[in-house]
Symmetry: C2
């Protein structure tokens, strides 16, 4: 901690020259701070032609959008870099490349992805990347399989669970996903016109029991090294390409959480589309989103099963039929976590632009109401939704 100081733009350039491992360090001449997140400084390091060559990212010791009153562990920078290095080892194609990291400064250097765009932005602007969902499924299959008990030797995995213990960041999720939306809490944010919907959620004992189960599994099931925050704003896309970034919530948790978060953000977009596009475009884009959800799950489950068949090192977990049975539990969890993401992004602390940028107020509230309703339905019905086709049918049924 004692070496920690926040980097200036000049510091960032100097740091990149020393540690990025680029061919001509002297060509790095300027830095542009582009952090639009809440938690970090993010510098693009530019060459003499103004081309961004690498990214220097430094964690701040507090939540940036709130200020220094909400302190936040710097250890998340180590967790993020080490999570991405592990995932990158198993899925280099879809994990941002970490060139260097330093726990003391809470800083890392990562590859520049200026030729990519944040997926959420493209989803909102109706730019379709038909391969993206499948590639995200492939990333999750590779990252989660190789860090699970199917592949990790037990003693190594137990050490990894310790290395990726991430209590402060997990608590943010524990609070924002699984608690705040279901109680009266100052961090929540929703318009008065949703008050009745929110009250209905808080009065629904069966729903809260189901959420308690999802929270309990988030707290106790160390199935694999999760990304922990794999929403469409943590994903860069380009034509035929996809890269996952921002893994500061990485920890050993239930696989369904990553799948559910990813599916939930596609469905948040689905819910927002009628407010973002004209009627005809919205209908087409909604079909694309449902195809994306389907492709995401099938790519994950198919990839995981193929890896389980080929590479399982635990002789019992390798038993034919077990991976399929386990993946069904992951599926049920994923549907539930997907529902909690829909709810917490609509009425909780951290919203999504897919809903919040809808300019027409009445339409925005209608879309938000749909997200809430769909979220509640998925949480309650998760165990009775046998597969992704049934999920798609449920979503259509919800309107």
């Amino acid at each position: 901690m004692s070496v920690y100081h926040t980097l200036t733009a000049a510091d960032a350039v100097e740091y990149a020259r020393r540690h990025a491992g680029v061919d001509q360090p002297g060509a790095l001449v300027a830095a542009e701070e582009v952090g639009d997140g809440n938690l970090n400084l993010v510098f693009k390091i530019l060459d003499g032609q103004g081309v961004s060559r690498v990214i220097v990212k430094q964690a701040l010791p507090y939540v940036r959008c709130v200020g220094e009153s909400w302190p936040l562990t710097l250890d998340r920078a180590r967790i993020e870099a080490e999570t991405l290095l592990v995932h990158g080892g198993f899925c280099p194609r879809h994990t941002v490349r970490i060139l260097h990291h330093d726990a003391g400064l809470a800083v890392m250097i990562q590859e520049d992805l200026s030729d990519h765009t944040i997926w959420r932005r493209e989803l909102i602007n109706n730019v379709y990347y038909p391969q993206a969902a499948g590639q995200l499924g492939e990333y999750l299959a590779r990252a989660l399989f190789h860090t699970s008990d199917f592949y990790q030797l037990p003693q190594h995995k137990k050490a990894e669970v310790g290395r990726f213990s991430n209590p402060e960041m997990c608590q943010i999720t524990e609070d924002l996903f699984f608690t705040d939306p279901y109680i009266d809490h100052e961090r929540n944010a929703y318009p008065p016109s949703l008050a009745a919907d929110v009250a209905a959620i808080r009065g629904d004992g069966a729903l809260k029991v189901a959420v308690a189960g999802l929270k309990h599994r988030f707290l106790s099931q160390a199935q694999a090294l999760l990304h922990g925050d794999v929403h469409s704003g943590s994903i860069f896309v380009a034509e035929g390409r996809l890269k996952v970034i921002d893994a500061e919530f990485g920890y050993y948790g239930p696989m369904g959480f990553d799948l559910g978060t990813a599916m939930g953000n596609l469905l948040l977009n689905y819910c927002g589309l009628p407010g973002l596009l004209d009627l005809r475009q919205a209908a087409d884009a909604r079909e694309q989103r449902l195809r994306d959800v389907r492709e995401l799950w099938l790519a994950f489950a198919g990839g995981f099963q193929a890896l389980a068949l080929e590479k399982s090192r635990d002789i019992m977990l390798a038993e034919p039929g077990y991976a399929r049975q386990f993946l069904h539990q992951v599926w049920v969890d994923a549907v539930g976590y997907c529902g909690t993401e829909l709810i917490r992004r609509t009425i909780g602390f951290a919203h999504v632009a897919d809903l919040d940028t809808i300019s027409d107020e009445a339409m925005r509230h209608q879309c938000q109401r749909q997200a809430l309703s769909l979220g509640g339905t998925l949480i309650l019905a998760a165990a009775r939704i046998p597969d992704v086709d049934a999920l798609v049918a449920r979503v259509r049924q919800n309107g």
Copy 2:
């Protein structure tokens, strides 16, 4: 590690004088080594009248019954003492009292329980302690509830999961419970007359898929600080009293494992009784065992639910109805783990006297066959056995 050396009897006396905190240390004059286990030196420390006053227990760096060729971590002594201290904090009535412990020497001093008897011995000798099963259920309810997410604050619990990471001892369980009995392995031990039964188990894909699920949950579900080895040989009983000892397998795992191990040992005794007692006695004792299984579960579940109602600190897990729903999952797990205990104690490395001391060979094999058959049934049918009364009915049905 450098301070470690095995204690002589004289060392043990001196150690107890210094650290046991007894009123008159000088009254401790002799030590008697009574370790009948495989892993430890156990000294009774005697006063001038030959009365045992405290126990000094030291871990050996290898499996005693096998020899120095099977090394075993000394850290298990720290884990054992710290597990018993935690459990003792929440259930002092039924946890052996730790007076002192020293990780470097892998030694602990615990209260003398010479006025108690090992429960397994009494079960075999048909000495009935009607309160014992209920007290064991109370111990498990208090120990597991207070170390679970219902009661522990999340950040503290994550630190505790790290403190009780117990990879080497867990691996013993992972191998002996969940792998060896289902494959050809030199550690297994069973008579040739059981070869067909063993082959049937190894050829049963559905059974092995179910065991894989139990193993996977043992590997990944950090629900509570388990005892980890709570069989009837780890339990002292006396009239109206019960004390749990020997927690070197302690770690954060699925609650059903402790419940299943405990129930499994009662059912191993149930299976062995026809070979241990005459017909009439055996029938009565079997009814007692079934009452014990029932009482054990009901005391655990009732105790846990009462604690959940009164003391849950997680606002979501406190939702009315959640504890009951969670306990049903624990129940299903417990039935499965009970089945694995029945199988591994019959054909695996470590057997139980309830079966092995049956002198008539044909009868012994018949009892062993019943244990195997019951074990397989419970593993396969766990999800379809709704409660403990249904379990008792299944056991009767099994013969």
